[in-house]
Symmetry: C2
Subunit: 287 residues, 2 copies
């Protein structure tokens, strides 16, 4: 008889994470973990607070709390070029954006928001005024904070993907594509991390979870038609749009992704209280 | 493109429900439902309130709300004889129980509690005084409501299974075995039901969920050694004890189970505001 507890693992119920969890529901691994489903920011908060052992964390929050966390090499959510679902939506062409645009931050992802700010301020040379707004495009562009008329909005997730496919006269700038144009590197939006103290006490369990995630992502690649069919059954996107989306998303961290992560950390330092990574990120090693 | 939503399905994270969910995590079905995990009473409440579409409901609550619900033929949680995890624990032999015993109700299952009351009052001829107490055996027998000394406790779930295996001098009466001695019938503790209005609007989805549960339970039977090994990894019971438990539990409703259900409904009527079932229970039919 034992006294072990299942590891508490976070789960983002967004479309972009379906390929990460697909295999867990086909290999029985979901029975070996204590899965907690919530929005990305809430999961980040819980991992930092110690209410979860392992889980996704938005890159900005990881950078702030890197001392307490170890990265798990996969999964991750990244893109080397367009990601389709992290967008700056403007009313007219980007070149026509005023010098001090009113920008709605219609996003609960701190990394997506920070990427939007970096690009607006450092690449496009603007000095925006920001306001946090409802997460849908119409609500964002009609935000009360801007007396009902924002010039642009930073959108993420399913709502951003919808705007990409149905811009309705707006201009949609893919922020991961812009990041690549700017830096030559992939953009990492979220990483999976384990609390350092949990990893030290339970290296075997963490290794199991890491390998289960790796197997799950591999299985999604093998069964991508079934993943697309399942998503198309429930999500308001055509199978072709879903297939393109899952093709763009990257779920592992190569050396190039780590270079992109470090570059983001370096450029993010002036906006956050996160120290730039020196030799990091530090990875969990099963030993 | 569609506007369907995944059905909201309740999930009891108790050991006795592992064989019901086992297959859902091996066939990918968990990706096709919106699973809500909670304690049995809370899931019953949510199904009745319309916050869930399909899920487990303790038999007593089903009987009270049968007008709004349709039974799904499987799964269920039942036993034809000993169930091991729904117990009356007494300090001495049952025959020595005083005429007006102090009985701790250490259970969040209204059906288990009502079964205990029925047996104490109608079969054993006692006139107990009851109090709701903490769910563990020691806490129940030392309940403040009885000045620190109850004569007996009704226990359910993992805590009851532990008392069965480690009675520590107490006497443990298996209430499902007593029910069978008394009535000749199986005892049904929980059923799975769908809200009538949801079933009328979404018969195809309900059929899918029903068949997925049926396949899941069948798969658990086929892979029972793996189910036991997974449970033994996390639960404080030896593999042999788990195998015996899963062998005792029954996850479907035969005609004999329905007779047991109706007999319980008939005997329960005097304790609850539930009308006795006439021709029911009424089942979901995919048509």
């Amino acid at each position: 008889m034992n006294t072990a507890s299942r590891p508490r693992v976070g789960h983002i119920a967004f479309l972009n994470c379906l390929p990460i969890y697909w295999g867990l529901a086909r290999t029985g691994t979901l029975l070996e973990i204590d899965l907690h489903r919530a929005a990305p920011d809430e999961l980040s908060r819980r991992l930092v607070a110690g209410d979860l052992d392992i889980g996704p964390i938005t890159l900005v929050e990881y950078l702030k709390h890197a001392e307490d966390l170890l990265l798990i090499p996969d999964p991750a959510v990244a893109a080397d070029g367009p990601v389709l679902s992290v967008d700056l939506v403007t009313r007219g062409p980007l070149a026509d954006l005023p010098h001090a645009p009113k920008v709605a931050l219609a996003s609960t992802s701190r990394t997506g928001v920070l990427l939007g700010r970096m690009l607006l301020e450092q690449r496009y040379g603007r000095e925006p005024v920001y306001a946090v707004t409802p997460p849908d495009l119409d609500g964002a562009l009609a935000a009360e904070a801007f007396d009902g008329r924002a010039d642009a909005a930073v959108l993420i997730g399913d709502e951003a993907l919808r705007a990409y496919h149905e811009p309705r006269g707006h201009h949609v700038v893919d922020l991961a594509a812009e990041w690549k144009d700017w830096t030559g590197l992939p953009m990492v939006f979220a990483v999976w991390a384990v609390r350092r103290e949990y990893a030290e006490a339970n290296p075997g369990l963490v290794k199991d979870v890491h390998l289960a995630f790796r197997e799950s992502v591999n299985r999604s690649r093998e069964e991508i038609d079934a993943v697309v069919a399942s998503a198309a059954r429930w999500e308001p996107f055509a199978p072709e749009a879903l297939a393109e989306y899952f093709e763009r998303l990257q779920f592992g961290l190569s050396e190039r992704h780590l270079a992109g992560l470090r570059e983001f950390a370096s450029r993010a330092a002036r906006y956050t209280n996160a120290a730039p990574l020196r030799d990091g990120p530090e990875f969990f090693a099963a030993g």
